[in-house]
Structure formats: C-alpha cells, structure tokens
C-alpha cells in the first residue's frame, strides 16, 4: 500500500511538472571535451612503474579523457542531463539525472550525479580547469604514489545514485546563498577486510548498493559581490555514511572553500578532511601496533591556487597543494608501504595554458613533489611534467 502511494505520488509529481509551464519546444544542448595528456616523471627515470604493476605509483605516459554531455529542457521546470565519460576506467556515466526546478529556491535532482561538495567538482571537467591535474585532495590516478595513499581525500568526480534537494537565493543584487542536501548510495568496500574505502568497488557495479543505508550530506555557499566584476565565495560541505555491507565502518568528510575573483584573476582555496573507521580486529598486515578492534585514520588535504590571465590566450596558474595522513595502514615486509603514522605530501605546481584558437588549448605544467617518506627507490622528492592538448565543443 505504502509503495503504491509512493509510486502514485511520483507519477502525479511528474505529470504536474510536465503540465505546468510547458516550454515552447524541447531544447537540447550538447557539449563535450577531449584531453590528451602526457605525464613524464624524470626523477623516476621516465618510467614511474618500472618493475611494478601498471598504476602502482601513478599513471605516466599518455592518458586521454573525453566526455560528452547532453542537456535537455523538457519544460520550463524539468530538465535532464546525461554525461558520458571515457578515461582510465573506460566508459562511465558521470551524469544521468532529472532536475525538477519550479523556482530558484528549490530543486529536486534524482538519478546519477556528483552530490554537491566543495568548489572544485563543478570544474572537474578537463575543459574547465587549466592544469592537467586536479588538486591533490580531489586527485585520482595522476598523483604519484596513488596506491599507498589510496588517492585523494575525495577523488573527483564522485557520481553516485541518489537524490538531492537544494536551491539558490539572491538577497538583493549582491549576495547569493546556495544550499543543497542529499542522500546517495555512498562509497563502498566489497572485500573481506574493511581497511579503507575501495574506490574501484565504489565506481564499478554502480547499480548495486552494498548496504541499504544511504550516505547523507549537505553543502552551503555564500557569494558576495565586491564590485561589478569581482566577488568572493565561501562555503562548507559535509558527508557521512558507512562503506561496508554491515554498516559497521563509517566515513565522514568535511570541507571548507573560498574563491576570490577580481575581474579574471581567481584565487581559490579548499580544505578537506576525511575520517575513516577501519577493522583492526586482527593486527595482521598493519604497520603499527593495534589496540582496539575498530580504529580510524584521518586524511587532510588542501590547495591554494592562483589563476592569472596574462593575455586573452595565455593563463598562468600557480598552485600549492598537499595531504597529511594520520593513522595506521597496511604494509608488507618485503615491500613496505611508504607511509608512517604521520605522513605528508606537498606539491608545488607552476603551469600555463595557451589557447591556439577558441576551443583548442595547450596545457603545460611542472610539479615538484615532496614526500615525508622515502619510496622503494629511496626517493622522497620527485619532479613531474605534464603536457596536454584539450579541445572543447
């Protein structure tokens, strides 16, 4: 009975949404991007994974990322978005959702989407950020030592199945408030031992939730205009859920963001921290002594980035980002994980972007990495270079 009532309510909602304010025609917008990046790590003799499984320390050489997005305005209040990506994971659905937005202050989004968290995710498409790589807290495969660190704090994008409600409100002409709250399936680990979120499990078999408890979260952002061509935004985000099938091990992520725009100059900074509980009932494999059956580690991440246009076709970008991990971790006697109880990464990036023509850009950057721990080759500093071409349409 309850199920029928819910189904009837949903059907009525869709019918009401479609009947009110019908658009003149169904409007479609298609957009996309393609990036080819070459990642070269000269300090690792130009072969990052020599003698190790591919991707053990990161992805070097050529990588391609492509995406195509179709946005359809079904009516004045209903729109649908589908975005397909092709990259290191093959083809994936980055977006497949429907928005019902009767007014600025209220929308309902249902389907597959990246829930509102932080500022960077809105620009995660390769056509929308001007360095080849993402900031470390949001990094995936392009970070060095990606396996031992298990990538960033919240690897971006993070599409998931669920529902989000939110809106935006303008106080006069100078202050904008954005808010959103969501419930999504959440990150997963389908293995036998719960030691961290498994990002592969989280993105593969995306139609199956490993536990019935949704991950919930919210995002709040305030934007204040400072002048006709400048503004400042500050925001806060939070996400909480469990990642195992028994709902025994939880993760919680908090984030803070600030963006200052003065004409075309942008100063961006974000801070994220994730607390992850893990199974410490057996000391086997852990690098540090185990005291309780359940333990947790903290992973902090932050970046500060300055983007300065030098001319209509050249942008200069300087970024400092890093991560700091505190807690126990798995290791092996033969090949010790290059971590310790407190480990850190600091990265300095200087890069530029040059638009040959509208829609075709070159990205160049050099990164200096500084790790608190030495790797198998005895290194704790590395230099890496990115050279990429990106096209948008």
């Amino acid at each position: 009975m309850k199920g029928r009532l819910l189904a009837l309510t949903m059907v009525l909602t869709v019918v009401l949404a479609l009947s009110g304010g019908r658009a003149r025609a169904v409007d479609r917008t298609f957009a996309g991007s393609v990036q080819l990046d070459y990642h070269f790590v000269p300090t690792q003799r130009g072969n990052l994974n020599r003698g190790e499984p591919v991707g053990e320390y990161g992805l070097d050489g050529f990588t391609v990322e492509a995406a195509g997005k179709l946005a359809v305005d079904v009516s004045d209040h209903v729109s649908a978005n589908v975005k397909l990506c092709f990259g290191c994971h093959g083809f994936e659905a980055d977006m497949a959702y429907v928005d019902y937005r009767p007014l600025d202050e209220f929308y309902v989004r249902a389907g597959r989407f990246s829930p509102s968290f932080g500022a960077f995710n809105l620009r995660h498409d390769v056509g929308n950020h001007k360095l080849s790589d993402k900031p470390l807290p949001y990094d995936m495969g392009r970070m060095l030592r990606m396996r031992s660190w298990n990538m960033g704090v919240l690897p971006s994008p993070f599409p998931d199945n669920g529902v989000e409600v939110g809106g935006t409100h303008w106080f006069g002409e100078s202050t904008q408030l954005d808010y959103a709250a969501y419930a999504v399936a959440g990150f997963r680990n389908n293995g036998d031992r719960m030691t961290d979120v498994n990002w592969v499990d989280s993105r593969s078999r995306y139609y199956v939730d490993n536990n019935a408890r949704p991950t919930v979260g919210a995002h709040l952002k305030l934007t204040q205009k400072l002048g006709a061509l400048s503004d400042v935004s500050i925001g806060a985000s939070g996400m909480y859920g469990t990642y195992d099938s028994e709902n025994d091990y939880a993760y919680g992520i908090l984030g803070g963001e600030m963006t200052l725009r003065i004409q075309r100059t942008a100063l961006r900074m974000e801070y994220l921290v994730r607390r992850t509980e893990f199974d410490a009932s057996s000391a086997e494999g852990f690098a540090l002594p185990v005291t309780d059956a359940k333990d947790s580690f903290l992973k902090h991440g932050a970046y500060v980035e300055l983007e300065q246009p030098l001319s209509p076709s050249v942008d200069l970008i300087a970024r400092v980002d890093g991560m700091y991990r505190v807690g126990n971790f798995l290791t092996e006697e033969e090949e010790p994980t290059p971590l310790s109880r407190k480990s850190s990464i600091l990265r300095y990036t200087l890069g530029g972007s040059y638009a040959f023509e509208r829609g075709f850009r070159m990205k160049l950057s050099t990164e200096l990495w500084q790790f608190s721990d030495r790797d198998d080759h005895g290194r704790n500093r590395d230099v890496s270079v990115h050279a990429a071409f990106v096209g948008t349409y």
Binding site: G127, S311, F356, R361, L364
Partner: protein, 124 residues
C-alpha cells in the same frame, strides 16, 4: 621505516632537467605568440562597438568563473530565447555570481554576438 628530508630541488641529469623545464619554455613561446596579438578563447573588447564592450566585460568575468569562454562563444547558439534559458540555467549554478540584473547585460552582449555570427554565416 620513514625518513624526512629538507626541501630542496631534486638533482636531475642535464637531459632530464631540460625535459622538466620544457613546459616553462613552451609557456614562454606561447606568451610570445600571445603578445603578437593572438585572440584566444574570448574576444578583444577593443574590437567591439561602444556600449558592447562593457557588457562583454561583465559576460567575460561572470561566464569564465566555472568554464572557459569557448563554451558559450563556440556553442553556435544564435536564438535569443535559447540564450535566455541558457543564461538562466547558469545563473542558478552555485556561486555563479550572476545576479538577476546581470542577465540583462549578458543577454544584450549575446544578442549582439549572435547577430554578428549570423551576419558572418550569411556572408560565407
């Protein structure tokens, strides 16, 4: 298990050092091209008629916050009603900074740009 080192630039061989600094050289080359008058993603405000330049500057500042200007300028849209919906969708993005009053100036510029595009296509 771990050891900590002071921050210092890693020692690289001559060939690898050249490769590591190739992006800087590339950027310098790009800058030289840019100084030669290359246009890039956007438009040159000086090439726009009086009155349009100010609208363009607002458009360029607001609409490059989350994406490059190639997105709207290369979209091929020339219909005012379509632009109105497009800008409305962007205005509602978190932190867009596009106030309801800003849309008037942005749409005024996009109307001008659309007419230019249509005239150019007609002339081809």
């Amino acid at each position: 298990m771990s050891s900590r080192g002071r921050c210092a630039f890693p020692k690289l061989g001559g060939r690898r050092r050249r490769l590591a600094f190739a992006p800087a050289a590339g950027l310098g080359f790009a800058l030289a091209l840019a100084c030669a008058g290359h246009q890039g993603d956007g438009l040159d405000p000086r090439s726009l008629p009086p009155g349009v330049g100010k609208d363009y500057e607002l458009f360029a500042a607001r609409c490059s916050k989350c994406h490059s200007l190639a997105r709207p300028l290369g979209s091929g849209i020339t219909d005012d009603a379509y632009w109105a919906k497009y800008v409305e969708r962007m205005r509602r993005q978190p932190g867009s900074g596009i106030s309801p009053a800003d849309t008037t100036a942005i749409l005024r510029f996009l109307h001008y740009y659309s007419q230019e595009q249509l005239a150019r296509r007609g002339g081809e």
